[in-house]
Every structure is written in C-alpha cells, then in structure tokens.
Symmetry: C2
Subunit: 334 residues, 2 copies
Amino acid sequence: MNGFSRLNLAIDVMGGDYAPYEIIKGAIEGCRIYDADLTLAGDKTLIKDCSEKNNFVLDGIKIINSSDTVFMDDSPSGVLKYKKKSPVYLAAEYASKIDNSAFLSAGNTGAAMACALFNMKRIQGVFRPAIAIVIPLGSRKFVLIDGGANTEVKPVYLQQFAIMGKVYCREILKVKDPRIGLLNVGSEEKKGNEITRESFKLLKESKLNFVGNVEGRDIFEGAADVVVCDGFTGNILLKSIEGMAGFFFGEIKKLFLSNFITKVSSLILKKYFKSMKKQFDYEEYGGALLLGVNGIAIISHGSSKAKAIKNAVRVARDSLNNDLINKISSEING
Amino acid sequence: MNGFSRLNLAIDVMGGDYAPYEIIKGAIEGCRIYDADLTLAGDKTLIKDCSEKNNFVLDGIKIINSSDTVFMDDSPSGVLKYKKKSPVYLAAEYASKIDNSAFLSAGNTGAAMACALFNMKRIQGVFRPAIAIVIPLGSRKFVLIDGGANTEVKPVYLQQFAIMGKVYCREILKVKDPRIGLLNVGSEEKKGNEITRESFKLLKESKLNFVGNVEGRDIFEGAADVVVCDGFTGNILLKSIEGMAGFFFGEIKKLFLSNFITKVSSLILKKYFKSMKKQFDYEEYGGALLLGVNGIAIISHGSSKAKAIKNAVRVARDSLNNDLINKISSEING
C-alpha cells in the first residue's frame, strides 16, 4: 500500500479511430501497470468478442453495456438528450457516481466534454471548464489551456484557465512555480484585442507567476510553462502544431527515400530520428484533461492507440494521487 | 520594352534587424534584376557611408533624407503624429505621391502599416486592409490573410479578406481559381464562434470558390489556397509556424552534432536538408502585402536579409504588372 486511493477508470471503449481494440488493450495494460480498477462502457458482445480474439483477460473488469452509438458528427446536446445509453455517456455517468474515479474517451470530443460536464458538474466557482493539454517539445514542453472547450471567452475565464493550468503543471508535470504566459500577438501590455488586454491586467494583478504576453514564436523557445488562450486560438494552434509536425516528418521521409545515398543514411540515422520524433509524441501524455469539472475527465486524441490510453491511465492516477481536483477547487476559491 | 510600366520602389532602409546594409543591398540588387527605379528613405550620411564601404553604386537612385528615428516600441499613432520625418513615413509618403510605385519596410510593422494606410489611403469600398502572406510549404504553399493587421474583425471584413486573398493568389502565385478556406476549429458550418459562423454564411453565398472551414491540421495538407482568418489568430499561427520550424531545424542540427556517425551522415545529407529547409523559406516571397490600401505596400520580416528584399521587389513588380490594386478594387466593388 502506498497510502493512495485506488483509481477506478471508466472508459468509453467505442470512441476513437482504433476502437475498441486499441482502447481496451491500452486500458487493461494501463490499469495493470498503474494498479487501477477498470470499467468498460460499450457494446458488451463486441467487448467480449474482441477480448476473446485477442486474449484480453476480463477478470475483475466491470462492463457497462451500451445500446446507443455516438457518431463523430453527433452534436453534444443531441448526445445528452437522446443518447444516454451511449458508451461515452455511460462512462461519464458511472465515473460521476463512484469515488476515486476517472472518465476517459477518445471519441467525439464535444460529446465527451458535454457528458463529463453534465454528469460530473463544475467545480464550485469555476466559470467554464477548459481543455489542458501538454505540448511535447522535448525539454521545452508546455501546457496549453484552453485547447478548444470555449470558442468565446471573457477575461475572468482566462484568469481561471491560468490558475487551473498552473495546478495541473505543478501537480502532474512537477514544475515548481509554473510560469504563466498569455498567448498574444505582441509582448507589450497593450497588444492584442480587448479580451487579452483585460486578461493581461487580471493576470498581472494576480498571485500567479505571470511572465506576460507570449507570442507564437516564443512558446517554442520555452517562454512559459503554461500558455493561456481562448479555445478558438488554442484549438487552431494545437492542430497546426500537429499538422506541421506531420508535414515535417513526411518531408524527412521523402528526403530519405529520394535516392540510394539518402536511403543508406536513413538506416544509420533511423534511431536518432525516432527519438527526435518521440519528443513530439502526444501519446506520451495520453490526452487532454478537461479541467474545471468536478472529477477527472480525460479526452484522448481520436487517433489514440493503446500506448496513449495506457499513458492516460497514468495521468488519471497522478491526478487522483495528487488530489488535483481539490487543489484546483481551493486555488480557484482561495 | 515589355509594355509594362516601370516600378518605382520607395524603401525604408533603416527598418529591420540588418538595416541599412542588407536592405540597401537587396533593394539595389532587386531593382537591377527587376528593372525598377529606386528611392531610399533614411539617414543620407549613413546611406552614403554604407554604400561607399560596400561599393554600392548609387547612380540614378533617389535618396530622401530622414531626421526622425522609429524604434520597435514606437506606437503607430505616435509615428504618424510625431515622426513624419522618419524613413518609414517618408517612404510611404513618397510612394503615395508618384505613379507605379511600391512602398517597402522591414521595420516596426505597426508603424509601417499605419504609414502606408495614412498616406496611400484605402481602396474605395474596403473596410479594413489586411496582411496577406504566403506560407511556404513546398508545393503546398498557401496565402494566409489576415496575418495580423486586425485583431478584431467582423464577418464582412473576413469576406473581403477572402476576395483580396483570392486576387493576390491568382495574380501573384498564378493559381487559377484559388480555393478559399475559413480557418476554424471544425469542418461543420456551425463550428467556431459567432464571427466564423456568420462569415461561413457570407462566404458560402459569395461567388468565391469556398471550400468551407479548414482546421489547423488541414492547412498543412493543402486544403486551401487562401486561408482566411482574423488577424489575432493569423498572427499567432504565423509566428507559431516560424517558431516550430526553428525548433524543428534546431533539433535536426542537434541530432547531427550528437556524435561521429551523425556528423558524417550530416555531411552526406546536408544538401538535401538545405533544399528541404528552403521549402520553409519565407524570404522567397520577400514579405507580406498589406492588401486593401490604394497602392502596393510590402511589410517585410524584421530579420530580412538582402535576398528577402530582392524577392520583395519581384513581388512588387508582379503586383504592378498584374494591376493588383485595380483588380482588388473591381472585385471588391463588383
């Protein structure tokens, strides 16, 4: 015994490009490594078939059978209204009812957020939950908040995002006094739009370790540990980073394949590039946390494989062990 | 004679990290290659000294002597009010008064935009000028508009940005019927914020070749030839692309320097990586165009060297030869 509570992970096994196989695989592996109980929400027959075929041992694992299916173009409100028997809803609902639980989905992001918020509710005092995601850049990683939950914001929301991001960065990434940067188009206080100008003032007056505005360029140079922005900008940034990394590694691949000499060189350099690529690996953190809901809610990337899910279990366990939700609550209300 | 008018370039030689040397060098070279007249605005003594030291031939080149200096933290309105004898103001003023001219500055962006707009005025019917910039990604390049002129926008502004970006893409990049994408957080019409939703409607109803919403990921996969967004998002995206490219190539360099084997490989691969790096070379297009002002105004990157300035002269010449300003005017008012 380590004195910590045992995590119970409730997972939507039907969401994600590689569901259910990779999701179940990652969940079982993660819960074994990180010593957690597991609840799978999804089509029971499919779960059993998949497990049998792949020798997944389901002993001690709870299964919640779903009868609704959520599609990628389902609206969040539609899922809440008409699909309460869907895996994503059932997993969130279950997680909201039992202690020491976490909810995870790699499916329709809007639906996952809605189900988490609807079932778990907000932490008292929180205006809007926000998506916090670790952008992996080797040693220069940072937490981006909001990654897409709120396309419209107010300065007080951004101030809370900063607080929640700080707690996450401190408790999970173990950065002692996280430097908070406000994503903006210039470093001067007066730069940006009305919302950033007002947010700058709030952050400057707060007790946060606020390092001021950070620009698109600065964040890749380690200017801040937590980068705060609205969910519109954050989502575009997030996906651009992903798109650009994909483009880069695609170009390198093309380069290596271009002739005999480059092909030979690529064999020599392969392992180095592999470790470089790993620095951009979003799977390392398994997903984004929806901070501000009264429970641990993880939204994983649609293309998550078992490794991402396994790592998401680690993040969920760390969140529980470090009492993340209560710490956010006390910092928001303190 | 090619039947085209001869360009007269008026350039602020004091703006930019490598001013005046690289600016003068690039301007002289560009005007020689692209057959243009040249007007240099800046400290006359400094221009003459720099030219003498570097064997720049100033014959036939007009010099406008400045007596004010613009700094990077000068506010645009301050420059307009108190620094009318600054190189950036004088160059814009001169360009606004003579035919077939273009204005160029690599200095304080806000000041350059303000001087261009104040002197050249808006094209009739244009609500707000916007920065159009080519994002070079090899064969997948696209025009981003607005790159930072307007941190607050209305849907009708975005509609005009799309029109101006289209004309630029068609006339300068020679894309026949440019595909217009609206930068957004999802592909569905209802995604995003109030402004993007309203803009989507306007663009859909227009005669533009509108391909719908494009996400941060899509733009690196060639989803659109013109990517339309507000200047806040655009500027953050622009600088992020730059920051990420810098980070990426920095990591490759580190990788190559890590041991003997990688050092040897790097010698073999050097030229391939050089050509890959060239695909991301913003200097290829020499700068951004401020579209919507009644004249050719180019805002070059602060770190521009002679090559960028030389290429900017080409873009200015192409803009003139293709009657860019009148075509924008007729499409905006047509």
